[in-house]
């Protein structure tokens, strides 16, 4: 009798495990994991997607990629996007978070306001800025008009187009990092801050010596998330410039879309995919190991 119960409990346990896990594991394996390996396989072929890939070209797709000026420029743009995200956007988000983590009058409203751009669809945020940047009836046009000058068409100007994109990146994403940091700051125990105050630490010292060090794991998370996000930037660029003018504002992903998918060069596109994957993977690996190292010290 007891034995039967144990067996049926065993059966129940494992059937639950299987039934509950199979949908998630199947979807994940088929649509997330396998595509990465397939991309790696396709990347060694010249292929337009019709029939099975047959024309094996070895590393030629990769060789072409790293000799291609437009791609190298896209890499450089991704670097600038990361640079601005890490060295302008995040310090700014941190600075605001240090203010807005306190519950003074109006703090909640400002928090919500600064977070607002983040929840807008990228396409929408980007289109709004397309309008702002317009040389004829956008805000930029109007401001130049006040001085009686013909407005520059920022998004069509090789010198300025990337800057225009970077501004929108900061505008769109600083709010989420501010929120992440605020929720980290609010987790710091009041006693620690009080103790510092009693020891005579002013607000600046408290921020630099206590809050930021305690917040550091959260900050590294923000660094990681915005690096990964910057490497995959696509939606914001499409309405603004589509990678133009003359292909100077491509990111790796818009390059992939334009030159791989758009022209049905699927083998070549897969090679771009693999490069993007490897870069993101290395970033994630660096993040993981530094985090593990930090935990080791504690």
């Amino acid at each position: 009798m007891i034995k039967k119960n144990i067996t049926s409990a065993f059966v129940e346990k494992y059937s639950t495990i299987i039934i509950f896990l199979v949908p998630a594991l199947t979807l994940f394996t088929v649509f997330v994991v396998m595509p990465i390996f397939e991309a790696a396989y396709f990347s060694f072929y010249r292929w337009n997607g019709m029939g099975p890939p047959e024309k094996y070209v070895g590393f030629k797709n990769y060789a072409f990629l790293f000799k291609n000026g437009i791609f190298l420029n896209a890499l450089k743009n991704n670097f600038w996007i990361i640079f601005v995200s890490l060295f302008i956007q995040l310090p700014f988000a941190l600075f605001l978070a240090l203010f807005l983590a306190n519950n003074f009058r109006g703090a909640a409203i400002f928090r919500s306001l600064f977070f607002l751009p983040y929840i807008l669809a990228e396409i929408v945020a980007s289109l709004i800025w397309v309008y702002i940047y317009k040389g004829d009836y956008g805000l930029v046009g109007a401001i130049w008009g006040l001085f009686g000058a013909d407005a520059p068409w920022i998004t069509a100007d090789k010198e300025w187009a990337l800057t225009a994109i970077l501004i929108v990146v900061v505008w769109k994403y600083f709010g989420i990092h501010m929120m992440i940091m605020i929720s980290g700051l609010q987790g710091i125990s009041k006693e620690v801050i009080e103790a510092a105050k009693i020891d005579g630490a002013g607000p600046v010292t408290t921020a630099l010596r206590i809050k930021i060090p305690i917040l550091w794991p959260t900050i590294t998370l923000s660094i990681f998330l915005s690096t990964l996000g910057s490497l995959q930037l696509f939606d914001l660029i499409m309405p603004l410039t589509m990678g133009g003018p003359s292909n100077v504002t491509h990111s790796m992903v818009t390059y992939l879309y334009d030159f791989g998918v758009g022209r049905m060069r699927l083998g070549f596109g897969s090679a771009i995919s693999v490069v993007i994957f490897i870069i993101c993977f290395v970033v994630a690996l660096i993040y993981q190991t530094t985090i593990l190292k930090d935990k080791g010290y504690n």
């Binding site: 509950f20 998630a24 997330v32 669809a121 396409i123 317009k134 505008w171 605020i182 998330l225 791989g260």
Partner: protein
């Protein structure tokens, strides 16, 4: 005195920043009530004459409603199925001890750092070979798959807080794992279900790259592709484009104000926990 002055500067600074956030939104909104002529000569001011014809024109377009409907279908299907798959998996990871538990959990989590763009070409081919192109599933299934890691992470964190004693007690009363999940875990977990639902839905609603690859039939365009399509059609009449954008902004902002709690909990909670 000193602190009053610094408070004044702080508010001044915050208000200035708020202006940078709000002015683009304000201009978009205000411009949707202007005629094209008014728009080009009077950028910053209020409309000389408030017109509603932009709105009635946009509402009169059949595809405007069809884009909204499509996004709703993509969003609801993705959200419901993500909630089901992710909560079941997370329940197993949180409450059932078995060999491989940790391994499978980590396997699903690596998905969090897979760049979606890397998968688009094989995904397109796979969906094509499955015969799903031209159906809602072409967008829904990959969206679920890529959202699972984050959803499971959030669910598992929440489920772990349900005390194991509760399960022991239920077990004595003859409750098995699946009963426990449906009768006890789910009713106790409404907040996390709301959070995951809101985040999943918003992500689906805003998604652009995936439908761009998968959907070629205008009748199945989701909202963001619809906006780009509309922009192409009306590139010479931006008061119409801005009306369309305003009609996107208003529900998004209202939704944000209503669901703010869940959105922020979902985004920062998941982040801080790991």
């Amino acid at each position: 005195m000193q602190s009053k002055l610094s408070k004044f500067y702080m508010y001044l600074f915050l208000t200035f920043l708020a202006g940078i956030i709000l002015v683009p939104l304000y201009l978009t909104f205000i411009s949707s009530f202007k005629t094209l002529g008014d728009l080009s000569s009077n950028v910053i001011g209020l409309p000389r004459e408030w017109i509603l014809s932009n709105y009635t024109d946009v509402f009169g377009m059949e595809y405007f409603w069809s884009f909204a409907w499509n996004s709703l279908v993509y969003g609801v299907l993705t959200t419901v199925l993500t909630l089901i798959c992710a909560s079941m998996a997370a329940f197993v990871f949180a409450h059932i001890r078995f060999f491989g538990n940790r391994f499978l959990f980590n396997y699903l989590l690596i998905g969090l750092m897979f760049p979606f763009a890397s998968a688009i070409i094989p995904l397109f081919l796979k969906v094509r070979d499955f015969g799903l192109l031209g159906t809602y599933w072409a967008v829904v299934l990959p969206q679920i798959a890529f959202g699972l890691g984050f959803a499971i992470l959030l669910f598992r964190g929440f489920f772990k807080q349900i005390p194991p004693e509760l399960f022991d007690a239920a077990y004595v009363d003859g409750c098995n794992y699946s009963n426990f999940f449906f009768r006890i875990t789910i009713p106790l977990s409404v907040p996390i279900f709301s959070t995951v639902a809101v985040v999943t839905f918003v992500t689906s609603w805003n998604n652009y790259l995936l439908p761009l690859i998968m959907v070629s039939n205008e009748e199945l365009y989701p909202w963001p592709m619809g906006i780009m399509f509309f922009r192409g059609e009306y590139d010479t009449d931006w008061s119409m484009v801005l009306t369309y954008v305003s009609l996107t902004l208003i529900p998004a902002i209202v939704f944000f104000l209503l669901a703010q709690k869940y959105i922020i909990a979902g985004l920062t909670g998941g982040a801080v926990k790991e």
